[in-house]
Amino acid sequence: MLVTVHQLAKAYGYFWALKDLEIRATGGERIALLGPNGAGKTTFLRLLAGAIYPTRGEIRFDDAPLTRQSARERAAVGLLTPGEHLYDNLTARENLGFFLQLYDKEVGPKAIEDALETVGLRRWADEYAGALSSGMKCRLSVAKCQLLKPKLLLLDEPYGVLDGGGVDLLESFLKAQSEQGSVIIIASHHIARVLDLCTRAVILDQGKLIFDETRREPWDSFARAFGAFLPGGNR
């Protein structure tokens, strides 16, 4: 999959959350999306996911523009935000079944069982999502993404609620997905962890792209770019 972002801008009233963003991402890349609070990371993810529409510019998936009518393009994108996009009054199994049908995925009950088993939620399959802890909800979201197999997987602060086992599970899933050609973009403040996983880093500040490089060692330019946000101007 090739994701092309051209001159992307989003305004909320008079406030520009993103300005003239230019990014290209190809299948297999794992991109760390970094920046201070209010940098525009979540807005960027929501634009890519098709939850909101840009004020200016465009997003293309394999040369097809993402528009209001792009049902096929939206189906190729998954957004994982811990505990979100799950119905509290549906069971874990029903949540997965509902979203699979919504995405028109022909998956049998066995696949749902397997996905729940993989994320360690088999015992809680018939519990309401509202009764699950934040970490378990996050695991359920991972199971959802495993079943939907998005070609562009976006993650917004996925580490906050997961325990050690959950983090390992998530990271092995993300590596497997990118090896299958998916583009992964992770917005996080857990810089060391996310840089360890990702193959490229992008830094946003006040809605603008200020750093975009592929990972290499030693990565001095990244340290300098990110150091600007830390007290004293040092990393």
Binding site: R72, E84, H85, L86
Partner: protein, 225 residues
């Protein structure tokens, strides 16, 4: 076909959630019944005046009850940002609109089916014969109310004090529908037939068709407000 399948999928989910929570239906039913009791105690209607005033009271009870349902319409989607989850999925936004409209229609029809006989008893209406026709008119009015209500409920989703804002925006736009429904009901109760209220019935059907079409076409923009 895809639109119908997606609509059914979303409607089934809403019905299942309502079956588990029973919040909207119970509130609407008790509120509707309560309003009829209040109206009954407040107005000492002679049998001759029942045909004139009762339709307006009945329809007002349905409107207030329905508004309660509308304020709860997207409640399931507000938790855990589920609306975003739906908007990001490949589902047609028209299907989302149709599912929400149908869900509110189902709730209102269930309330109407239980409240209407209560209305008959409370206001001592002489004959049960106009009841089926009255239910049909109420159904047509309910469709129009739910169609426009769903559009405005989605439009005010992110507004502050939306519970106050929604009726303020909704009721002025509903005036043609309210008039048409009451005129048709009044003719049915007084004459036992529509008689010269047929143009009001046409207006009622026209309102339903126009706003249903508009809703399917513009809902994508409405939810993006």
């Amino acid at each position: 076909m895809k639109l119908v399948r997606q609509t059914w999928l979303l409607l089934r989910k809403d019905l299942l959630l309502e079956l588990r929570r029973r919040e909207s239906l119970m509130t609407m039913f008790f509120f509707g019944a309560l309003l009829l009791f209040v109206f009954n105690f407040s107005f000492e209607l002679s049998p001759a005046r029942v045909g004139e005033l009762a339709p307006a009271l009945l329809w007002l009870a349905f409107l207030f009850t329905g508004t309660l349902g509308l304020t709860q319409l997207f409640e399931a989607e507000r938790g855990n940002h589920c609306l975003d989850g739906l908007l990001m999925s490949p589902v047609d936004r028209g299907a989302l609109f149709l599912a929400k409209t149908c869900f509110n229609i189902v709730l209102m029809v269930l309330v109407e089916l239980t409240v209407m006989p209560l209305f008959w008893i409370l206001f001592s209406l002489p004959s049960w014969r106009p009841l089926p026709a009255l239910l049909l008119i109420a159904f047509l009015g309910t469709i129009g109310f739910c169609v426009l209500g769903t559009i405005l409920s989605a439009a005010t989703l992110k507004a502050r004090a939306r519970e106050l804002l929604l009726p303020l925006v909704l009721f002025p736009l509903m005036i043609p529908l309210i008039l048409a429904t009451i005129r048709c009901m009044e003719a049915l109760l007084r004459l036992g037939e529509l008689g010269d209220s047929l143009p009001w019935l046409r207006l009622l059907i026209g309102f339903d068709v126009i706003f249903l079409t508009v809703g399917i076409l513009i809902f994508d923009w409405v939810v993006d407000v």
